[in-house]
């Protein structure tokens, strides 16, 4: 073989070799784009963990056909039901969530059966949430397949729900597009409690804001930390850790975080509540059911949200305040509900409380703010 042919053969062989290496042991970016695994080159899984990992990869890639056909119990439900189980039956945070990652934890395994926990970490526009599923895998011949624990859609019987909620409308004199520049006095709001604490990741300022007025208010709180020499250390707002719409006499907790700031450096805190008159209604009414504080270890507040109105609530945000035995506010935490709240259909919530704070919790209070698609203007 002359040098030319040798070189051509060498290039061809080396290229093929590099392609094989790149496919068998892909670089990080390639793994990410292949959904965390080997993408479309998946072979039949030979272990229960591999079956669960493959399923997670397919879910991540939205390869619904492959994910559904790989399930051992697919005869029990349709592919649409499987997809809706993961993405929600009604428009919700799940609908457009992307699977950020997943973990598979083996619990128990025999020659033909295995139990595992799949923790799916979803990323949504308002943050991440975890979906934990106990999955059962079975062996069929030389490969394993997962039994998907589907959560069936709950149907509410047809009924008429009377609506008699309060509602406030606002008529402005301007064009209406610059809603902050109004020609009416702002609603009277007041911070009724404020409590800074030092945490590992910085200072946390929490408190409660009361709408003292007889009109609804759109509220937010800004906090500025001042050093001993009077200089500004940092200034942050409550962002989404507050219920922005307050009806008359309503109270909302709020949390403002200052990452990287130490409380010992703070001489004083300047609080700036802001309120604007807005149209508002008491609908939809969300009832908190079976609220229960679970003491440490693993302290949490659990309960259910029940939508008492006749319309679907697409996204709900639960914010809970925790008080010590003196009635002092000691912690505020929240959770977005990843499933839509259908009328009369309770949905669970679960809010974790840090262990060091959990020991002092005596009472708690929960508020729920809601987002209904198309109802924000």
């Amino acid at each position: 073989m002359n040098k030319g042919r040798l070189l051509a053969a060498g290039i061809a062989v080396a290229t093929l070799l590099l392609l094989v290496i790149g496919t068998m042991w892909p670089v990080t970016s390639a793994v990410a784009y292949a959904g965390g695994g080997q993408g479309d080159l998946l072979v039949a899984p030979s272990t229960p963990e591999a079956a669960a990992n493959d399923l997670g990869t397919q879910i991540r890639l939205h390869a619904w056909d492959k994910a559904y056909s790989s399930l051992a119990n697919k005869a029990e439900f349709t592919q649409d039901q499987f997809i809706h189980d993961l993405t929600g039956y009604a428009l919700s945070l799940r609908t457009y969530a992307t699977l950020d990652g997943f973990e598979v934890q083996p619990l128990h395994q025999t020659a033909n059966d295995a139990d595992m926990i799949m923790k799916l970490r979803w990323s949504t526009v308002v943050g991440t949430f975890e979906d934990k599923r106990n999955v059962h895998a079975t062996r069929s011949g030389d490969h394993w397949a997962v039994n998907w624990p589907i959560v069936p859609e709950q149907h509410v019987p047809p009924q008429v729900i009377p609506v008699n909620y309060l509602r406030w409308d606002v008529i402005t004199s301007g064009s209406g597009d610059d809603w902050g520049a109004q020609d009416v006095e702002a609603p009277h709001v007041r911070i009724v409690d404020m409590h800074p604490v030092n945490r590992a990741d910085g200072v946390v300022v929490m408190g409660e804001l009361l709408n003292e007025d007889v009109i609804p208010a759109y509220v937010s709180v800004r906090s500025t930390l001042l050093a001993k020499n009077g200089s500004v250390l940092d200034s942050e707002g409550s962002f989404d850790m507050i219920s922005h719409t307050l009806l008359p006499k309503q109270v909302t907790p709020f949390v403002i975080r200052f990452p990287g700031v130490d409380l010992s450096d703070v001489a004083s805190i300047r609080m700036q509540p802001l309120s604007v008159l807005v149209s508002a209604s008491a609908d939809p009414v969300i009832e908190v059911l079976n609220q229960q504080y679970n003491a440490p270890p693993g302290a949490s507040l659990t309960g259910q949200l029940s939508n008492q109105s006749g319309q679907t609530v697409n996204v709900a945000h639960v914010i809970s305040s925790f008080y010590d035995k003196n009635g002092q506010l000691i912690w505020v935490a929240g959770q977005y509900i990843d499933r839509a709240l259908q009328p009369q259909t309770p949905v669970d919530f679960h809010i974790s409380v840090p262990e060091d704070i959990a020991r002092n919790v005596n009472t708690e209070r929960t508020v729920v703010s809601t987002y209904v698609l198309g109802g924000s203007l």
């Binding site: 002359n2 040098k3 590099l18 392609l19 042991w25 670089v27 390639a30 707002g237 922005h244 203007l377």
Partner: protein
């Protein structure tokens, strides 16, 4: 003529406006129109310096826009680059093959899928503008190394600096992929020459060093504001994912996008390119250059890119490497075509023409089949809204606007905290998480949404009052974060959200503002070198380079009989 016949109508249709980056280049050009000597642009990122991106193509667009407006100016400059590419490919090919093969290579460049992909889908004006200048410089580079002609040194230097002023990355990587094979060719040719034409290895090395130092120094001066910015504010941002780094085998949808569409029928020719390139001794350096560029251009399909580029692998995008690989393959392709057509005559000519036309057509059509923005919409109503009633006293971000973000920035006086130039971003909310433009946050999953949330949380800091939304996906975040919908535009397909209590925007990032002398330098030297390149190119040159006219292309029999083989 072929280039004009094919690409002129497409340019007149303004097809590149559908691409990812065209509006970005036009936005930069629109700033140069009004502020040629002031690269500080307050419209993006609460203020940024355009010295973070080599300016030459945008400055030419700005200049030509005085005649025909920004859009058509862009098309004119892009068309000029396409025409220049055919010339550059011919001249570069003549170093390696005879005139007939070089002509075929030049003709193939007109139909090259990689070129059309970059022009009509990616909108990479800088890459497609710099590459032809670089290719035109290489024959002079060869002449300087081979014969020590001072005029060639001058021409090569000026052209290389002009190429760097258009796109510095082309020069950096081009040196490895294009220049090293030329140096190897000089050494090979010299060793085979008669004694009076021999050039010693030491002389070649000395001339290479001399040119490198000269060009390096010139580039250091011409792009001085860029280097100063890079040293003062090194790029430390979290790498942003790009699908060109995927494995095209594990993720075939990206393989289609970054391999099948750009290469097109050239894929069928790859085995012949390798066989012919390996068979002819003088083509081997070129073949090796092509091969390495080809492997790197495969992104994450092989480990080569990651191994060769290290951390830069996570920063660079790889469609341009495929483009360079294709350009390197063209001289050999020209030779393959000569033999193919000589052997099969009309049948070969028809088949080649059909395959070339299909390749070009697919790459051009790809911008419509897989458009950069799913929906084509007009941002005029948004610009009008921002420009009235003092709305432009505050900053804004768009969500769901894709590359229309740049188009809007051209049309409005209002300033934004977002933007499309990833290397120009300094705001920590944008650089920390690994998302690209905020307007496309959701496509970057958690990193993109974390970045958006961080920016919205600091709205007061930046005077960010308006969020203009064309994707209701983002509505829940805005609602819960304290923003309220205040208006609807464009038949309710676009909503405007506002936040109360936000102070008006004030000038920011003053420490990053380049001083006046840098602005003068930026407005003078890069463009000046392109004018100089146009002038020196017409200096007469003695023809003694590369593959001689009398060498004609190799016959199949010669090749097979090993007459010119090793």
């Amino acid at each position: 003529m072929a280039a004009v016949a094919i690409h002129l109508p497409l340019m007149l249709m303004q097809l590149p406006l559908k691409s990812y980056d065209t509006n970005f280049h036009i936005f930069f050009a629109s700033h140069y129109v009004h502020h040629w000597f002031d690269p500080w642009n307050p419209k993006w990122f609460a203020g940024f310096s355009q010295t973070t991106y080599p300016p030459l193509p945008q400055q030419w667009v700005a200049l030509v826009s005085w005649v025909c407006g920004l859009n058509m100016a862009y098309m004119a400059v892009q068309l000029a680059a396409i025409l220049l590419l055919a010339i550059g490919v011919y001249r570069f090919s003549r170093l390696w093959v005879g005139p007939r093969a070089a002509s075929y290579a030049a003709l193939a460049s007109v139909f090259l899928g990689n070129e059309s992909f970059l022009v009509y889908s990616a909108g990479q004006l800088s890459t497609t503008f710099a590459a032809p200048i670089y290719l035109n410089a290489l024959p002079f580079f060869f002449d300087w190394l081979r014969y020590g002609k001072w005029r060639s040194l001058l021409k090569a230097s000026v052209l290389l600096v002009a190429a760097a002023a258009a796109h510095h990355a082309t020069l950096i990587f081009g040196s490895a992929f294009f220049a090293l094979p030329v140096i190897a060719l000089v050494l090979m040719e010299s060793s085979e020459s008669e004694s009076d034409e021999k050039t010693s290895v030491q002389a070649v090395i000395a001339r290479t060093v001399m040119l490198t130092v000269l060009v390096g120094a010139a580039i250091a001066v011409v792009l001085l504001p860029y280097w100063i910015g890079l040293i003062r504010y090194p790029i430390t941002q979290t790498p942003i994912p790009h699908p060109s780094r995927a494995s095209y085998i594990l993720s075939p949808q990206w393989g289609l996008n970054y391999f099948i569409v750009p290469y097109g029928a050239l894929i069928l020719a790859l085995p012949f390119i390798v066989i012919r390139g390996a068979a002819v001794t003088r083509l081997r350096p070129l073949l090796l250059g092509f091969w390495v560029a080809f492997l790197v251009g495969l992104g994450g399909t092989t480990p080569v890119g990651k191994v060769l580029l290290g951390r830069a692998f996570e920063v660079l995008t790889f469609e341009r490497f495929s483009y360079w690989a294709a350009l390197l393959a063209l001289p050999i392709l020209g030779l393959v075509l000569v033999e193919f057509i000589d052997r099969f005559r009309l049948k070969a000519a028809i088949a080649t023409a059909l395959l070339a036309a299909s390749t070009c057509a697919l790459a051009v059509a790809w911008s419509s089949i897989r458009p950069a923005d799913a929906a084509n919409f007009d941002v005029a109503s948004v610009a009008l809204w921002l420009n009235r009633d003092g709305h432009d006293r505050f900053r804004y971000v768009t969500l769901g606007f894709g590359s229309k973000l740049s188009r809007l920035a051209i049309m409005t006086d209002a300033t934004s905290v977002d933007g499309e130039s990833n290397s120009s971003r300094m705001l920590p909310e944008l650089t920390k998480f690994g998302g690209a433009a905020l307007t496309s946050s959701k496509y970057f999953a958690k990193p993109g949404l974390d970045s958006l949330r961080a920016m919205l949380a600091h709205a007061d800091r930046y005077g960010l009052k308006w969020v203009i939304v064309r994707d209701s996906y983002y509505d829940p975040l805005l609602y819960f974060a304290g923003w309220r919908q205040v208006d609807e535009l464009d038949d309710k397909t676009i909503t405007v959200w506002g936040k109360d209590g936000v102070p008006p925007a004030t000038p920011m990032n003053a420490s990053q503002m380049p001083p006046h002398w840098q602005g003068v330098l930026w407005g003078t030297l890069p463009f000046g070198f392109s004018i100089l390149a146009l002038l020196v190119i017409f200096l007469p040159e003695e023809r003694t380079r590369g593959f001689r006219d009398d060498d004609v292309s190799l016959s199949r029999e010669q090749a097979l009989n090993g007459e010119v083989l090793s």
